[in-house]
C-alpha cells in the first residue's frame, strides 16, 4: 500500500507554500523528502497528517483519501509520525505513553470501562502485553514505570518511535530524527531506520536536514524548493543534479558538510574568552 500525493497545493493567504507536488512512496521503501529551509517539507508533512487540508490535489494511502481527514483519523488510517522536537506525554509513565496509543484499537468503550465489563479487562491485559513486548524490543523495559519526562534525550526519542509503532502503522513519518544528535549518533540512525522498516514492515517517509543520513539510508529522494518539486531520484542522481546543488548552495554542501563545521567549538572557561 503506497502513499501517493497528486498535484498537492497549499496556500497560506497569498503565499503558496506547496505547489503542485506529486510523488509516490512505494510500500516498504525508505523515502526522503529534502530541501533547503522554507522549501515546504514540514507543510507537506502536516498535509499528510491532517494538520492542514490541501487547497488542491489528493493524498491517498492505498484506497483511503487522507486529504480531508483530521489528525486522529489519519492515525487511525495507519499513518504514524514522530516530531522534530520530541512530543511525549511527560507526566505519564513510559508504559502509559504506549497505552494511550492503543485507544484506537480497543474493542471496549466508555460503557465497558464504567461497568468494568470483562472486555475492559481483556483489552487492558492484551494492550499492556503488547506495550511491554514493544518496550522490550526498544530496550526500555527497565524504565516502564518512569515518568517519560525524566528519561534521557536518546531514550525519549526511542520512546516516541515505540509509541508511533504501537498504532501498528503502515507508514511512519520521521520528522528530522537526527536533530540534536552528534555525528556518531547520526551515523547509527541510518541502521536504526532500516531496522525499523525491516522489523515492523513499514513504509518510511523521512524529512531530514542531515545529508549524510539522507544519502545513506534513503532509496529514493524527493527534493523541494520554494514549495515546488525540483528533482526526484536515487541518492546518487540527486547528489549530481545541478539544480539541487544550486538550490542548496550557500546553505549546505550536498556532498559533505564543510570540514570547518566539524571542528569542536572553542572552549570557554572561567568566564574568560581566549
Amino acid at each position: 500500500m503506497s502513499l501517493q500525493l497528486q498535484h498537492v497545493t497549499k496556500d497560506f493567504g497569498g503565499l503558496r507554500a506547496v505547489s503542485d507536488v506529486t510523488f509516490e512512496v512505494p510500500e516498504r521503501s525508505i523515502f526522503g523528502l529534502i530541501g533547503p529551509n522554507g522549501a515546504g517539507k514540514t507543510t507537506v508533512f502536516n498535509l499528510i497528517t491532517g494538520v492542514y487540508e490541501p487547497n488542491a490535489g489528493t493524498i491517498r494511502l492505498g484506497d483511503v483519501d487522507l486529504g480531508r481527514l483530521r489528525p486522529a483519523h489519519v492515525a487511525r488510517a495507519g499513518v504514524a509520525r514522530t516530531f522534530q522536537n520530541i512530543r511525549l506525554f511527560g507526566q505519564l509513565t513510559v508504559l502509559e505513553n504506549l497505552l494511550v496509543a492503543c485507544e484506537l484499537q480497543k474493542r471496549s468503550h466508555l460503557l465497558g470501562a464504567l461497568l468494568r465489563l470483562p472486555v475492559h479487562y481483556a483489552d487492558e491485559r492484551s494492550m499492556t502485553k503488547r506495550a511491554l513486548e514493544l518496550l522490550d524490543v526498544f530496550g526500555l523495559t527497565h524504565m516502564a514505570h518512569t515518568p517519560s519526562t525524566s528519561l534521557p534525550y536518546g531514550h525519549q526519542r526511542r520512546l516516541e518511535i515505540a509509541r508511533a509503532m504501537m498504532i501498528a502503522p503502515k507508514v511512519l513519518l520521521l520528522d528530522e530524527p537526527a536533530a540534536g544528535m552528534n555525528s556518531l549518533e547520526a551515523a547509527g540512525l541510518s541502521d536504526q531506520i532500516r531496522w525499523l522498516r525491516d522489523t515492523f514492515r513499514v513504509t518510511v517517509l523521512l524529512v531530514e536536514h542531515n545529508m549524510q543520513v539522507v544519502m545513506d539510508v534513503c532509496e529514493e529522494i524527493h527534493v523541494l524548493d520554494h514549495g515546488e518539486t525540483i528533482a526526484q531520484g536515487s541518492p546518487d542522481e540527486v547528489r549530481d543534479n545541478a539544480i539541487v546543488v544550486a538550490a542548496y548552495l550557500g546553505e549546505e554542501d550536498v556532498n559533505s558538510v564543510p570540514s570547518s563545521m566539524l571542528q569542536p567549538l572553542p572552549s570557554i572557561r572561567g568566564g574568560q574568552l581566549r
Binding site: 489528525p71 483519523h73 492515525a75 507526566q91 466508555l110 464504567l114 483489552d123 494492550m127 509509541r163 498504532i167
Partner: protein, 382 residues
C-alpha cells in the same frame, strides 16, 4: 473443606456482595434516618452535602481530568433540578398524590433520567462549538450559558409569557412554536420559583436511599472513568494535544464527551436537589447563579483538580462551611452586629478568596493534587 467452599462462594458472589450490602444499608438509612437524626435541617444539610459532592465530582471530570475550564456548572445543575421537579410533580398527580418509598422507585429513576438527558443534551450543544476552539472559549461560553438559563427562567413571569406569546402567535409556524415555548417557560414560576403545576409544592420523593445511593454510584463511575483507558487518554490530551491526535486520540471527541458526562452528572445532582426529602418544596432560579458555579469550581480546586476523592472532600467542605457560617451568623452573639448591617455571608466570599489565594501559593495542586485517597492499592493509575 468448608473453608474451600466459603472461598469458592465468596469468589463467585463477592462482586455482588458489596452492592447488595450497600442497597440494604441505604434502604435501612432511608427508613431510619428520621429517627437517628430528628433535626430536619440537619438531614437537609446531609442530603445537600451529598448533592454538592456530586456537583464537584462531575465538574472534576471536565475541569480536572480533561483540563478544560468550565465556570457555568450551576446551569446544568439548574436544568436538572427544574426537569426532575417538573417530571416528579406530574407523575405525582398521576400516581395518586401520596409520597412513599415504593412509589419513589418509579418517580425518582424517571425524574433523574430526564434530568440527565436534558442536561446532557444542553452539555452537547454548549460543548461542541466551544471545545473545538482552543483556550478560554469554554469558560466564556459556559458562564454565558448558565446566566442565560437563569435569566430566562427567572424573567419569564406568569402573564409575560401570555402576552409575548400572543405577539408571536401572529407569525405562523415558528411563531406558534415560540408561543408554546414562552408559555411553558412562564409556567415555571419565574423569580418566585417552581413549585408544581398547581403551586402546591414539588413532591419530595428522593429520600436518603436515592440521594446517597446515586451519589455513591456516580462517584464510583467517576473513579472508574479516571482509572481506565479513557482517563489515560484525557491525561495524555492535557499533556500534548497534537501528540495525542497523532496516535489516534481525537481531541474534540474526548473533550466533548467528557463535557457531556460532566453535564449529565450535574443534571443528576440537580435532579436530586430538586426533589430531595427535607429539601425546599420549590426550585428557585437564584440557587443556580454565578455564585453557585463559582462554589463548584472552588470545591474542585480545593480538593485537587483531577482527584475524585479530592472533589468529594472539596464538595463536602464547601457545603459544610457555608452552613457553619450561617449557623455562626444566626447565633445570638452576633445578633447585635447583624442589626448594624454586618453580613457574615458576604464575609464568606472574602474567606474563600483568602483560602484560595493561600492554597495557590502554598499548594497550587489543591488538597490532594491528582492523587486519590485509597484504602487498598488495588487499582494504580494506568
Amino acid at each position: 473443606m468448608t473453608a474451600e467452599v466459603t472461598a469458592g462462594l465468596s469468589k463467585r458472589f463477592g462482586k455482588f456482595l458489596v452492592p447488595l450490602v450497600g442497597v440494604v444499608a441505604l434502604l435501612g438509612l432511608d427508613l431510619l434516618l428520621d429517627r437517628v437524626v430528628p433535626d430536619s435541617s440537619l438531614r437537609q444539610l446531609l442530603a445537600m452535602t451529598a448533592c454538592n459532592v456530586l456537583v464537584a465530582v462531575s465538574l472534576n471530570v471536565i475541569n480536572g481530568m480533561a483540563g478544560q475550564f468550565s465556570i457555568g456548572h450551576a446551569g446544568f445543575v439548574g436544568i436538572g433540578a427544574y426537569t426532575s421537579a417538573i417530571v416528579a410533580s406530574h407523575l405525582h398527580g398521576a400516581l395518586g398524590g401520596e409520597v412513599s418509598l415504593v412509589k419513589s422507585f418509579v418517580v425518582v429513576p424517571l425524574a433523574l433520567v430526564a434530568s440527565a438527558t436534558f442536561a446532557g443534551l444542553f452539555g452537547f450543544l454548549v460543548g461542541l462549538p466551544s471545545l473545538r476552539l482552543k483556550g478560554d472559549y469554554l469558560a466564556i461560553v459556559t458562564l454565558g450559558f448558565a446566566e442565560i438559563f437563569r435569566l430566562v427562567i427567572s424573567s419569564a413571569q406568569i402573564g409575560t409569557g401570555e402576552t409575548a406569546g400572543a405577539a408571536w402567535r401572529a407569525v405562523r409556524g415558528l411563531g406558534s412554536l415560540l408561543h408554546a415555548v414562552s408559555v411553558s417557560l412562564s409556567s415555571l414560576g419565574g423569580q418566585m420559583g417552581y413549585s408544581g403545576p398547581a403551586s402546591d409544592g414539588v413532591p419530595l420523593y428522593a429520600g436518603p436511599f436515592w440521594v446517597f445511593g446515586v451519589t455513591a454510584l456516580l462517584c464510583v463511575a467517576a473513579w472508574r472513568l479516571k482509572f481506565s483507558g479513557w482517563g489515560r487518554a484525557l491525561r495524555a490530551l492535557r499533556e500534548d494535544e497534537i501528540a495525542a491526535a497523532a496516535v489516534g486520540v481525537d481531541p474534540t471527541r474526548y473533550k466533548v464527551t467528557s463535557f457531556v458526562l460532566a453535564a449529565v452528572g450535574a443534571g443528576v445532582a440537580g435532579g436530586l436537589l430538586g426533589i430531595m426529602r427535607d429539601g425546599a418544596p420549590s426550585v428557585q432560579p437564584d440557587n443556580f447563579n454565578f455564585q453557585a458555579s463559582f462554589d463548584a469550581v472552588t470545591m474542585v480546586i480545593l480538593g485537587g483538580s483531577g482527584s475524585v476523592t479530592g472533589a468529594m472532600l472539596g464538595g463536602a467542605f464547601v457545603t459544610l462551611s457555608i452552613k457553619a457560617i450561617e449557623w455562626v451568623q444566626s447565633s445570638p452573639l452576633l445578633e447585635g452586629l447583624r442589626s448594624e448591617g454586618f453580613d457574615l455571608n458576604a464575609l464568606r466570599m472574602i474567606v474563600y478568596a483568602a483560602i484560595l489565594i493561600a492554597l495557590m501559593i502554598l499548594r497550587p495542586e489543591g488538597l490532594l493534587g491528582e492523587r486519590e485517597l485509597r484504602w487498598g492499592s488495588k487499582e494504580q493509575p494506568g
